[in-house]
Symmetry: C2
Subunit: 248 residues, 2 copies
Amino acid sequence: MSSSSAAPTPRRGDKAQAAAAKPPMRDALVAAAFQLFLERGYEQTTVDDIVALAGVGRRSFFRYFPSKEDVVFPDHERCLADMTEFLAAGDDGDEPVGRVCDAARLVLRMYAENPTFSVQRYRLTKKVPGLRAYELSVVWRYERALAEYLRGRFAGRRDGTLRADVIAAAVVAAHNNALRSWLRSDGQGDADTTVDHALGYVRSAFGDPPACPGPGGERPEDVVVVVSRRGAPLWRVVQEIETTLGRD
Amino acid sequence: MSSSSAAPTPRRGDKAQAAAAKPPMRDALVAAAFQLFLERGYEQTTVDDIVALAGVGRRSFFRYFPSKEDVVFPDHERCLADMTEFLAAGDDGDEPVGRVCDAARLVLRMYAENPTFSVQRYRLTKKVPGLRAYELSVVWRYERALAEYLRGRFAGRRDGTLRADVIAAAVVAAHNNALRSWLRSDGQGDADTTVDHALGYVRSAFGDPPACPGPGGERPEDVVVVVSRRGAPLWRVVQEIETTLGRD
DNA sequence: GGGCTGATGGCACTCAGTGCATCATTTGGG
DNA sequence: CCCAAATGATGCACTGAGTGCCATCAGCCC
């Protein structure tokens, strides 16, 4: 249920799949938890209820999920690892903002893999304050991963850490805005289009234009940005250009 | 009344009322909590320890603070109310982004009112994961207040909610970046200057230039923004201008 | 005084989360 | 084929946060 629900055959002793170990008990706990959460609410469901329905011991629940909230986000740990790995794999030639936007798309993909599950979870987190708070801490880790990557890429630029933090926050906000609008429509529309549009706004705001029709041979040096005010003195125009480009 | 100040509670502890009888029980609880948090750690301190030191009943703690984490952020509820009031008080003539930046400065002012307290709390939240998560939910409410204000101001603009969410996130990120850098320096430098610089970056990124030398008679209609890529077709340039300006 | 109100304290309870010991299953040699 | 280490599941007892309920005690109005 968590990722690919196609795991009906618990082949024990298969070394090949032991690498990507998929404990069946974990998925059973997630399924039991969501069944109860949906039919009687999150706070009205105790961990004892979940383990009773799943037919396992109470102690086993906390072996797979460090807290009751974690069962609602069963695959975010893996997704976060994927994102950090994706960011670390990029070379220094690509555009930092574009790379961060692509990393955000990884998260969208995880949500889009199981639309019904994602929509159910969205409705749950929307109405339970405790789950909203927990989701914030999850999203915060994504944002920190993006910001840390950008801090590394912006090392040497003036206000590098500031730019990194702001752009990471903007990317996450745009991604969440599009994701929520998609979730609100019960996962009907095209999530990629919505997210691309939102991320395009962020890229345009920070001087990195959205993907051109042509293939990706562009270099960041080709970007021209002018931010000015009619009738402003020349030194103000230059100052704006310097601020926007952020180069020393 | 043997002493100079009329002490209404002669039997209780003789320590808490040295300052004045003005701070009721709430401030005594905050003081006791921070004393214990600093000397033995947050998680190593139970609510029973706090109420024992404050000389009050355990039940009274939860009367003033809905949770143990809340005692670490005793004045954020008031600050959030001040911010929403400030945003609601503005008229429709002022620049939305500038107003939101001013609202963020309100939060900074609250931190700057008690530098030592703020620095202590910063060190605490930096090392205790549970407090970090709680702080996120607090910051999230500020961000939502800013975003809701901007959504109202951007109603009618294309991608109004997207712009509102992204700008609110960027403002909060810039504010936090500056605030943390100030807290990391033990509250020594000038917090206002740092935050002004950070917010100026956000304003410049979103087409709203930082405060000009001249008096504030500017109108947002005077802003001209061009974001393009050398060699891009004309329709792309027009699209970028439309996207950046965000008018229909 | 007598009753009213609001703040407080005490008590018992639920539930999340943890440490520890025990039992079952698997694995891996000899 | 059997024994032993290892891994995983379970039960049990415990801590600590948070809640509901009721008793208590202050001031206060009549």
